[in-house]
């Protein structure tokens, strides 16, 4: 493994991205993946004080739903264990949505405004105050910032010859991201995952590129993909430093 990593975005959207990283060992790649899931803290509702709940659900059930609402997390201003208070007051008929939550700090608010919490019928009312706590996915899955994080090897595709006229027309399915002979990085969605579409009439060979990984990172909205990734790498570095210090004589 080198000291330098080459990182580039293959696709980049608001809440998901594909990153190509060269110079990683499989162990480091998996470490980064796990850190994104379990080590980057996000806010999540942890305690709810119900003033009134005449809905059809028990307080505990409404509480569990509230815990799963992703909250935006300004990590630069908060530390693990800090709390922010949110509140909701809603009278039926109507649906209480995550967007109805009022927050004490505008930077900590539901990442999506349209998550239904509960449907209230005529005369039903929901009123509570909730404390959101900053904690890590290691503590509880509701604090996970990365929701669909994984990686694949980058695959290099080489043209090795022409396909014979009567060769078996079996599809050649690849998934993820490929590197062409020109060095272009192409997502397999572009040719419907079938190499025959990209290289018609050609015989191709596919092999893994050593040390090159394509991460697919999806955030629940509490953090941006970039911040999630950088914080995960920071947490790995911190733990490595801690280990080095602990074993130093």
């Amino acid at each position: 493994m080198t000291d330098q990593f080459d990182v580039s975005f293959v696709t980049r959207e608001e809440r998901s991205a594909r990153l190509l990283i060269r110079g990683l060992t499989p162990a480091t790649a998996n470490g980064v993946r796990r850190a994104m899931i379990a080590d980057v803290p996000t806010f999540s509702i942890d305690t709810v004080r119900f003033v009134e709940n005449s809905s059809v659900m028990f307080d505990e059930m409404v509480g569990l739903r509230l815990g799963l609402v992703p909250l935006t997390t300004p990590l630069e201003d908060y530390e693990v264990g800090d709390t922010v208070t949110l509140a909701l007051q809603k009278t039926g008929p109507g649906v209480a949505y995550s967007g109805d939550l009022e927050t004490a700090d505008d930077r900590v608010q539901p990442a999506d405004d349209d998550i239904p919490i509960i449907e209230l019928k005529e005369g039903q009312r929901l009123e509570f105050e909730a404390d959101a706590v900053l904690d890590t996915g290691k503590e509880h899955a509701k604090h996970q910032g990365g929701v669909a994080v994984g990686y694949r090897h980058l695959q290099r595709v080489r043209v090795v010859g022409d396909r014979q006229e009567f060769d078996d027309p079996e599809p050649q399915i690849v998934r993820g991201v490929i590197e062409t002979e020109d060095g272009d990085v192409v997502h397999t969605d572009e040719f419907d995952n079938d190499l025959r579409n990209r290289y018609p009439g050609k015989e191709v060979a596919v092999e893994d590129v050593p040390g090159a990984f394509v991460f697919h990172v999806e955030s629940d909205g509490s953090l941006s993909v970039e911040e999630l990734f950088v914080r995960a790498v920071d947490s790995l570095r911190d733990r490595a430093d801690e280990l080095a210090e602990a074993v130093a004589i």
Partner: protein, 44 residues
């Protein structure tokens, strides 16, 4: 203890001698109301 009569919807105070019966309409089905205090729930 405060209950609510399921027929006439009036608040009913029960004591140990009166038995379970609404003093206004005589209905025997009484509903227990939610306690007015704030309930704290841990989300786990």
């Amino acid at each position: 203890m405060t209950y609510k009569c399921s027929r006439c919807k009036r608040d009913v105070q029960l004591d140990e001698y009166g038995g379970v019966r609404c003093p206004y309409c005589g209905h025997r089905v009484l509903l227990k109301e939610r306690a007015p205090d704030v309930k704290e729930v841990d989300v786990v």
